[in-house]
Amino acid sequence: MNELLKIEGLTKRYSGNLFALNDLHLTLNGGEIVGLLGPNGSGKTTLIKLVNDCLYPTAGTILVNGNPLGPESKEDIAYLPDCTFLNESMRVNNLLNYYQDFYNNFDKDKAWNMLRDLGINQNARMKTLSKGTKEKVQLVLTMSRNAKLYILDEPIGGVDPAARDYILRTILSNYSEDATVLISTHLIADIENVLDRVLFLKQGQLVLNSTVDEIRSEKGKSVDALFREVFQC
């Protein structure tokens, strides 16, 4: 079992003694679909941004497939942020070429096929597309990479149920035994059947790291129900 992600003592402190993450330890192996669950403000996005070198840590180390953060870790990670991160003046087919130019593990044909299945006009400029379509383009580009670690930040958040199904199917069909998908969400019920493992993040601390089956057999309830218990207001 390879240690795909190894985080030790990860801390992120903002001014005014606000700890978004506090001494977090986490190891993820390959071949799992993992849910990063927690209410807003629990540190999910902070953790994700730190692993992707989009925030700098106050303390701690992160290793991706044995490498510290850098060009190798970025080649190994396919990251889907929770916002429009593409250059909106580019056309969809330009973006395909862009990804192909920079990422060795980008499968342009796969992306092309997915876009075609979704009926997205490849000549269109990003800024002319609707919000939902933009999100689909971003998802397609991310999932067309043959990465070792996929990190999806709230991929099913503002999306209609049909699109949600499509996204979950895409995640499942991308499944490979060495790759791991880390999905952060607060919509647990929709995604529970797809997860191997769940991580509960509460106020910057990891309060649970368990497989879905363990939770259901040991606690006799769904992850969704357990979540409500753990995080009740």
Binding site: I33, N193, D196, G220, D224
Partner: protein, 125 residues
């Protein structure tokens, strides 16, 4: 469409039940080849590891066996399948009897209720 799964029970158990049902009802014939774990997981809308676990359990029970490179096949032991069918039926019946008891029926009243319901169903067709 993803399979309809109860959220309080382990998923792999429910997957096993569904596959057993499919075997027993004839959707899969003895000796048939099962779809791959990935395809079945995709159809069910579940994690492939969970589907894998369900398959492994069914293998242990002898309902499925794996041929090294060709995939997984339903057993050709028709007796085993018949046994399973009976067992599953018994489970449903026991649950039914329990439900009737909770409604206040005596066990002797049940056969008549059944024949009435069956006739009523036929006259409605």
């Amino acid at each position: 469409m993803p399979w309809d799964l109860d959220e309080n029970r382990p998923i792999y158990l429910q997957l096993m039940e569904r596959i057993e049902q499919d075997i027993v009802s004839g959707k899969y014939n003895p000796g048939d080849k099962l779809p791959s774990v990935r395809d079945l997981a995709l159809e069910a809308g579940v994690n492939p590891n969970t589907m894998q676990k369900a398959m492994s359990e069914l293998e242990r029970d002898g309902l499925i066996h794996a041929k090294r490179t060709s995939g997984r096949f339903i057993t050709e032991d028709e007796n085993m399948i018949k046994e399973l069918k009976r067992e599953l039926a018994q489970e449903h019946i026991r649950a039914f009897i329990e439900n009737m008891r909770q409604l206040g029926f005596d066990i002797n009243e049940i056969p008549e209720l059944i024949t009435d319901a069956a006739k009523g169903g036929q006259s409605n067709e």
